[in-house]
Every structure is written in structure tokens, then in C-alpha cells.
Amino acid sequence: MAEASTTPEASPRTPAEDLSPDQLRAAYRLMVLARSVDERCLALQRQGRIGFYAPLQGQEAAQVGCAWALRPEDWIFPAYREIAVALVRGVPLQAIIDQFYGNAEDEVKGRQMPNHFGYRQFRFVTASSPVGTQITQAVGTAMAAKMRKEPIVTISFFGDGTTSSNDFHAGLNFAGVFQAPSIFFIQNNQWAISLPRERQTRSATLAEKAQAYGIAGVVVDGMDLSAVYRVVREARERALSGGGPTLIEAQVYRLGPHSTSDDPKRYRTEAELAEWKGRDPIARMKQQLLSSGDLTEAQDQEYWGEAREQLASVIKHAESVPPVAPSTLFEDLFARPTPALEEQRAELERLLSEGVVKP
């Protein structure tokens, strides 16, 4: 996989207290890229060119601010909406789009729906669809790293709905008991498909659940990139200095549908959407950078333009790559295929060669 151009510049062991104007501009540029991916992929799905898409609009500042406060050696356990996190980590856009197409160059060999990617070299663990399972896993990795005395943290990403899951409880509880260097990053986007946040829990905030586990809990405005960056940076330092895990609730809003299979008009009002659109993290960040003189309208136009071009080019490539070969269906289940799998692979090959099924 080619080295990415979007990786944050080499920073000291502990990320700086605040982001420099240059870093803020670079972060904004990635937010623009993430939003552009979203808009383009929603269209690709409608055109039938990709099978599914789960957008992240409204969550760009939370994702970019959070990922920027991590070090490349930290382990990321994503849910299925963390495209901006992957971009900050340096995952090439081509790799992400190839996954959406499930083509022969897709790192996960066309096995998963779009959004369920993973890249070992970037310590970005492959996502699954069941919610919450990554939380206990991230805690286990943190326990292992602590055992081996490697100064890294693990972070799990999930939404407000997942705070109702078994693994949320088990994960926070284990992390508290074992003081695992792990961060739990909730993007509370207010909706778990059709259910509003207040139907998940009677708690006033999600972060206050941390108290019951004896760990730190923080609420942050997830539409404010710098604020998110600061709390994640602090959580990372706390974890590495033996202060234990932190539960962070970034309050954001899911501006789009849950996924391309969802119609939010069935359960939420236009007025609510309009109100949150007024707090769009991209518009907010742009305004901030314009008023501080760290961004010009021309640069902004340039960012949107380059994102469009980059997307056009990676989509063109992804569509030119052949689909995954049928024989890959039987790979990677075990380190070595079992006799029964070899037999089934031969059976499928026979069916293909006899024309009973088409490739």
C-alpha cells in the first residue's frame, strides 16, 4: 500500500497541547475530504455503483480532532463510520474506496460491506457490524500492551446506541479493574437508527456512566475540533501515566441517514435537522480559520476541488480493478485450509467450469 500524503507530520511523543494554525488548516482539509467522500459515496450508492454506505456527516470534527491526538503506534478499534479517523491515520483514500467496491485490490478481499475496513499496518483494526464487540477487544489489547510495557493506548469508537450493549459494560468494567490504558470514544450523534439518545438511557449524559466504573468521564462538544483534540490528548496522557481509562462523550449530530438503507424522515423532524445543520462542524471550522486569518476563501475552494479530483481518480481506478477471484472465497479461514474446505473449493470450481454458476 502506498504511503499516504495525509499523515500528520511526525510529532513528539506526546502531541502538543494545542494544534498550530498549520495543523488546524491540515485538519480542516481532511474534514473537507471526509465530507466529500460522504457526498460522493451516497451518490455512488444511489447509482448502484457501490452496495451500501454509512455516512459520517456531522462527525468530522470529532473524528479528526480525536485521531489527531493519537500517536501512530496507538491501536484504533473502529465502528463502521470512522472514515475520517482512517484518513488522519494515513490510510490512503484509494484503499478505502477499493474496500467499498470489494474489488481485487481490497485489503479485506471483498468479504465485508462498505465501511467495514481494516489496515493492520496502520494499527486500524478491521471493523465488524455487531455493536460494542470492539470495546472489550480494545481493552484486551491495552491490557496486553501494559503487560509488555509498551507505552501505547488503545481506543474504541462507538455510538450512543452502543452504550446499551453488553460489551460497553464489560469493557468499561474490565478497563477500570485492570487500569487498562484505553480510551472509549463515544460519538453521541443523538440517533441510533430511529431511536433518540434519551431512549437508550435515563442518564443525563453518557459520560457520567464512567463514574460507576471508577474511571474518568468527559463530555465534549464534538463539533469543536480543538476541544476534542484536547480531551483526547489528556485522556491519552492519563492512560499512559497510570491514571486509567477515560470515557469520552463527544456530542455530535448525524446529519445524514444511519445508512443508505435508512430514511430519517420517518422518525425525526426537519426543524431538528435544520437546527443542527446550523452547527455544521465544517462551516464552523471554516469560519474560525477565516476569522483568524489562517485560511482564505481561495484555499478553501482549492481543498474542495482537490478532494473532488482525488475522489474521481480513486473511483476511476477502483472501477477498473477486476472483482475478487472466486477462489479467494475459501482463503483466510484458517492458517491452512482444511480438507473439507479444499473439497468445497474444488466443488465450486467444478460448478463454475460446468457453467452451473457464473463467476
Binding site: R111, H116, G118, T136, D167, H169, N173, A335
Partner: protein
């Protein structure tokens, strides 16, 4: 060689693996200070420390989820589920995560966890301390499922499991944890996963069993011999991947098959064995296949002696198979 019970052999296997490799860690409920409710991990926390023999909070999904995270990182975790009956809260982690990590990541993330759990009835454990849930896991692609029946196999298969590269569910027949002792080789002597064992040669009927069903099956074979029926007993040892060759070879010789397991009959492991025999040994079969299994009910408390297959039921089935056709 040492004369050990099955549970002692498990303990020696864990000790052997932990001495050889600092990446091997154990985690589970009551396994540390207490040495496990069946004493399978007795003395190990004392020898290897609380960092490597971890007493966890009471949460199966927590145990398996964190074990997966440790395995992704490069450790070799061997979690214990106290009773197989309590494995269901971890079902999601086992079936959706452990079994699929290598596959769903395109081979990027092998996930080598050896999950140990005592299983099976005959200890007056009722519904929730007696179950034989192997079929759920044998049905799940991406998992290896191993069940030993002797002390030597318990240690040898456990060592193979810990040195494997894939997730292994290692189910221990708790009813015979201490029922018999046997000679167990000292040191790192492994029994390969994926090979069945012919524990008794015979020519008239093949008896297939595993785990705690091996002793009554052997007893049945002896009794059949006195009636002039020569029974071959195959201990499957690994349910997935199955040693299909051993199964087919035996039935090609005998032409008759009886399958024994204590799990319920419907969609039990025997159904798969019977289907394989029907598909691949149909013309060797001289009589219908028989299954001797637990009934299609939950595992009962007071009537467990009527639920569990015993030598008499196995003899009865083998006799009717031998007479048929």
C-alpha cells in the same frame, strides 16, 4: 511419564506451555487464587504471577473479548469459561469475532485464542451445569473444536491447540476429570488436532464417540464382543476439522455405524456425521445408521441417568444395527 487424571493433565499442559512461552496467559473466573472451580489451574498463579493467570470480573463476553484483544496484539491467551453452560454471553464474541477475524480482515488479523470450558453431564448439575454445546461451535466456520477423552490426549491436544495458529475451542469432559488416571508423557508431547483415534479395533460395527461418551462406548464394545459382535470404537477427538478419512475407512470396513453423543439428537454433531456417511459411504452401509444421544429436551436434574447415553443403550443400538440388513 506420569500417572495423572484428566484435569491434572490439563493443568500440566498449561504449565508446560506457560513455562515454554511467556506470551501464554490465562484468564477467567476464579482461576487464579482459587485455582479454578475444578482445580484445572491449581498452582499456576503462584508459579507465573497474577499478570499471567488473571482472575477476571464475572463476564464471559468480557473474558473472551479481552482475550481476542490480547491475541490481536500477539499474546497467546487461554481463557477459561467456568462451565460451558455459561458460554452464551460470549457467543457474539466467539461466533461474530473470534471465528471471523482472520477471514474478515483478508488474512491481516489472525486471532489465536484457545478457549477452554468443561462440558457435559453426569455430575448432577441440572440444566445449567451439564450441557454439551459443541454443535453450535462445530457449525461455525473458522473455529476448531477439540474434545479429549483421556489424560494423555488432554495434555497433548491442549499443547497442540496452544501452538496452533487458529482459534480453538477446547471442551473438557468434566464427568471424567477425575474418573480415571492414565500415563501422560512429560514435556512438550503433542497430539495433532484433526486426527481421530481408533481406540478399539473391530469388524462388525463402528461406534463413533468423543469425550465423556468414550468410557460407556468402550464398555458397550466389550459387552458386544461377548455376544459375538466385533465393535470398532473411534474417538473423534477433534470435531472440527473432522478426520473424515478415519470415519469413512472404518465404515467401509464394518458397513454399520452407531454415533454416540450426550448432546440432543436434532441437529447434533451426529447429524453431520450421519450425513457424511450417507453422502460418501452409502454403498458401504449394510444397515441404517443409529444415533444414541441425549433427548431433545433440556438436560434434566433428577432424571439425568435416563438422559445420558449409557453402555446399555449403545449395546441396544449396535445390536439392532448388526441384525439389520
Amino acid at each position: 511419564m506420569s500417572e495423572l487424571t484428566l484435569v491434572q493433565a490439563v493443568n500440566r499442559g498449561l504449565q508446560q506451555a506457560m513455562r515454554a512461552d511467556p506470551d501464554v496467559v490465562l484468564l477467567g473466573e476464579d482461576i487464579g487464587v482459587n485455582g479454578g472451580v475444578f482445580r484445572a489451574t491449581e498452582g499456576l498463579q503462584k508459579e507465573f504471577g497474577a499478570d499471567r493467570v488473571i482472575d477476571t470480573p464475572l463476564s464471559e463476553t468480557g473474558i473472551v473479548g479481552t482475550a481476542i484483544g490480547m491475541a490481536l496484539y500477539g499474546l497467546k491467551p487461554v481463557p477459561e469459561i467456568q462451565f460451558q453452560d455459561f458460554i452464551y454471553p460470549a457467543f457474539d464474541q466467539i461466533v461474530s469475532e473470534l471465528a471471523k477475524f482472520r477471514y474478515r480482515s483478508g488474512g491481516q488479523y489472525p486471532c489465536h485464542v484457545v478457549l477452554r470450558a468443561p462440558y457435559g453431564g453426569g455430575i448432577k448439575g441440572g440444566l445449567y451445569h451439564s450441557q454439551s454445546a459443541e454443535a453450535y461451535f462445530a457449525h461455525t466456520s473458522g473455529l476448531k473444536v477439540v474434545i479429549p477423552s483421556t489424560p494423555a490426549d488432554a495434555k497433548g491436544l491442549l499443547l497442540s491447540a496452544i501452538h496452533d495458529e487458529d482459534p480453538v475451542l477446547f471442551f473438557e469432559p468434566k464427568r471424567i476429570y477425575r474418573a480415571v488416571t492414565g500415563e501422560v508423557p512429560d514435556g512438550d508431547v503433542r497430539v495433532p488436532i484433526g486426527t481421530a483415534s481408533i481406540v478399539r479395533d473391530g469388524t462388525d460395527v463402528s461406534l463413533f464417540a468423543y469425550g465423556a461418551m468414550i468410557p460407556p462406548t468402550l464398555k458397550a464394545a466389550e459387552s458386544l464382543e461377548s455376544e459375538g459382535i466385533s465393535a470398532e470404537v473411534i474417538d473423534l477427538r477433534t470435531l472440527s476439522p473432522l478426520d473424515e478419512k478415519a470415519v469413512l475407512t472404518s465404515v467401509e470396513k464394518t458397513g454399520r455405524a452407531v454415533i454416540v453423543h450426550e448432546a440432543p439428537r436434532f441437529c447434533g454433531y451426529g447429524a453431520e456425521l450421519a450425513a457424511i456417511l450417507a453422502e460418501k459411504a452409502f454403498f458401504s452401509l449394510k444397515a441404517p445408521i443409529q444415533r444414541v444421544t441425549g433427548w431433545d429436551t433440556p438436560f434434566p436434574y433428577a432424571l439425568e441417568h435416563l438422559y445420558l447415553p449409557n453402555a446399555e443403550r449403545i449395546v441396544h443400538a449396535a445390536r439392532s444395527t448388526a441384525r439389520a440388513g
